[in-house]
Amino acid sequence: MSEDISRPEITRELSSSEEFGVIQQKLTIFEQLFNQVWLRKVVILILIAATWELYGRHLDNQLLVPTFSDTVIALWGGLKSGVLIDRAATSIQVLLIGFGVGVALAALLTILAITTRVGTDFLETVTAMFSPLPAIALLPLALIWFGLGIGSLVFVMVHSVLWPLALNTHAGFRAVSPTLRMVGRNYGLSGLGLVLKILIPAAFPSILAGLKIGWAFAWRTLIAAELVFGVASGKGGLGWYIFESKNQLDIPEVFAGLLTIIMIGLLVENVIFRTIENRTVRRWGMQH
C-alpha cells in the first residue's frame, strides 16, 4: 500500500554552469576533417586509383589492363587534341535531345493520367508493358524505322527515359496529400492550374528521382547504342570512340573513354542534380 509510506518532497538547487566542464567544445581538426563527406570520398578514390596502378604495373600488359597513369596520359592526350571533347559533345547533344523529348512525353502522359481516369489506365498499361523492355532490344527495329542516324538513337533514348520518369511522376502525383489538393482547390485552382501550382511542386521529390533514373538509363542506352552502330550522321560519340580505340588496340584510350563516361555521370549526379536537390527538396524539408 503506497499510501502508507510517506515520502518527502524533493526540491533541488541546479548546479552552476562552471561545474559542468564541457557544454560545447570544438572537435579536433582530425575529427572535423573526417566529418567531411567529400574528403572521405576523395580518399577512397585515391585508394582505388593506387590499387589500379599497382595491379597494372604488376600485370605489365597494356592490352589487358593499362595502368592508371597510362590511362590518364591517354585521357590528357584525348582532351588536348580535342577528340574526346568532340566525341563527348556529340554524345551529350544527342542525349539532351532524347532526354528532352522523353521528359516532354512523360509530362504529357502523366498530366493526362491524373486528369482523366482513362489516362491513368493507359499510363499504367503501357508502363507495365514497356518498362521491362531494355531499350537496346528496340535498336534493330529503330534502325529499320529511322535508319542509321540520330533518329534511331533518340528513339531508344526516349524509350529509356519515358517509362521510369512517367512511373515516378505519376506515383508522386498520387502521393500528394488530399489536404494539399483541397488547399489548392480552396484558392480556386482546378485542372492544369492545380497540376502546375500544387501537384508538380508537391510531387517534386518523386519527379526529381524519376529524372535521375531517366538520365542514367538514357546515358547507358546511348553509349551502348553507339557501340552497336557507332557513327550517327558522320559524327561519332563516346561509344564510338571506345569501339574505334578497341579496334586499333589502343586500350589506354578505351579506358580513357570509359573514364570520361564515368566523369560525366559523376558530374551530372553530384553537381547538377545535387544542386537542384539542395535548392529545392532539401531546402523545403521534403527530403533529407
Binding site: 483541397m182 488547399v183 484558392y187 485552382l189 500544387i198 531546402r283
Partner: protein, 262 residues
C-alpha cells in the same frame, strides 16, 4: 419570436443529407441537417466521431455536393470550393512545403486573384504579425512546430478575408498546453476583427470555450440533436462547467441505451 429581429443568415444549411462511397459501402454521413450561421458567429459543430461533422464542413467548403438539401452562402448556392470560404485543416501538411511562411500567405492571395505584388506582401505580413510569427516569416514550414504551422494556416485564412472561416479540428493534433494557448489566441483574434467562423470539434470543453452557438450532432448518420447558446466568455466558470455537463449528458444519453440493447 426572435426570428423577426434576425437579419438573413450569412450561411444557410437546409435539409442537407451527405453521402460518400467507400469501396464497398454507400455511407450516409449526415441526414437532413439544418442550421444557419449569422455574421460574426463563432459557430461550433460538435459531436462524437462518426457524426459527419467534418463531412458537413467539407460540404460547406464545396468539396462534397449534398444528395439532398442545399447550402447557401450570402444567398448564393455553394457548388464548388472557393476563396470566400477559407479552410483551416487539422493536418500540419496544409502549408505548401516549397514556400516560406510569407510566400504561403501571399500565394493564397495571389492565386485567388485577391491581391498582387506589394499589396499581397503587406497583407501577408500584417496577418503573420497578428499570429506573432513575424520572426519566422521567411522560414520554411518544415522548420516550424505544429502550433506554429496552425497559426500560419490561420493567418492565411484571415488574410484572405473570407466570408466565413472553416476550421476542421484545427487544434486536435496539438499538445494540451499549446491547444489552450491557440484557443485563447483565436478568441483574441476574433475580438479584433469579429470574423465569422464555423468550427468543428469533438471536444465539449473546446466547443463551450470557442463557440457562441453550438450545434450538437448525433452519430451514424449525423442528425441535429440540439442547437444551443454557449455561455458568455466572461461568465462564471461554473456556468461553463454546467453547460459542459449538460452537453455531455445529451451526447451520451443514447450511448447507454445502445449499450443496453447489445
Amino acid at each position: 419570436m426572435l426570428d423577426h429581429t434576425l437579419p438573413p443568415p450569412l450561411l444557410d444549411v437546409r435539409g442537407v443529407t451527405l453521402q460518400y462511397k467507400t469501396r464497398e459501402h454507400l455511407v450516409t454521413a449526415t441526414y437532413r441537417v439544418d442550421f444557419s450561421v449569422q455574421r460574426s458567429d463563432r459557430f461550433v459543430l460538435l459531436g462524437p466521431s462518426g457524426c459527419g461533422k467534418s463531412t458537413l464542413l467539407k460540404a460547406v467548403g464545396g468539396y462534397i455536393a449534398p444528395v439532398e438539401g442545399e447550402i447557401h452562402l450570402k444567398g448564393t448556392k455553394i457548388t464548388r470550393p472557393g476563396p470566400d470560404r477559407m479552410m483551416v485543416f487539422q493536418e500540419f501538411d496544409q502549408l505548401l512545403p516549397w514556400k516560406t511562411v510569407r510566400q504561403n500567405v501571399m500565394f493564397a492571395l495571389e492565386t485567388s486573384g485577391k491581391l498582387r505584388g506589394k499589396a499581397a506582401d503587406d497583407k501577408a505580413m500584417q496577418n503573420i504579425e497578428k499570429v506573432h510569427l513575424t520572426r519566422f516569416a521567411d522560414a520554411y514550414p518544415h522548420t516550424l512546430s505544429g502550433g506554429m504551422k496552425q497559426r500560419v494556416a490561420i493567418a492565411r485564412g484571415m488574410a484572405m478575408e473570407p466570408d466565413i472561416l472553416l476550421m476542421d479540428e484545427p487544434f486536435a493534433a496539438l499538445d494540451a498546453l499549446t491547444r489552450q494557448r491557440m484557443q485563447d489566441e483565436l478568441l483574441a483574434l476574433w475580438d479584433e476583427t469579429k470574423f465569422t467562423v464555423l468550427f468543428v470539434t469533438h471536444s465539449i470543453a473546446e466547443a463551450v470555450k470557442i463557440g457562441n452557438r453550438i450545434l450538437l450532432l448525433s452519430p451514424h448518420p449525423g442528425q441535429v440533436k440540439a442547437e444551443m447558446n454557449s455561455v458568455a466568455r466572461d461568465a462564471d466558470p461554473a456556468h461553463a462547467a454546467a453547460l459542459e455537463a449538460r452537453i455531455h449528458d445529451m451526447l451520451f444519453a443514447d450511448r447507454v441505451e445502445e449499450d443496453e440493447h447489445v
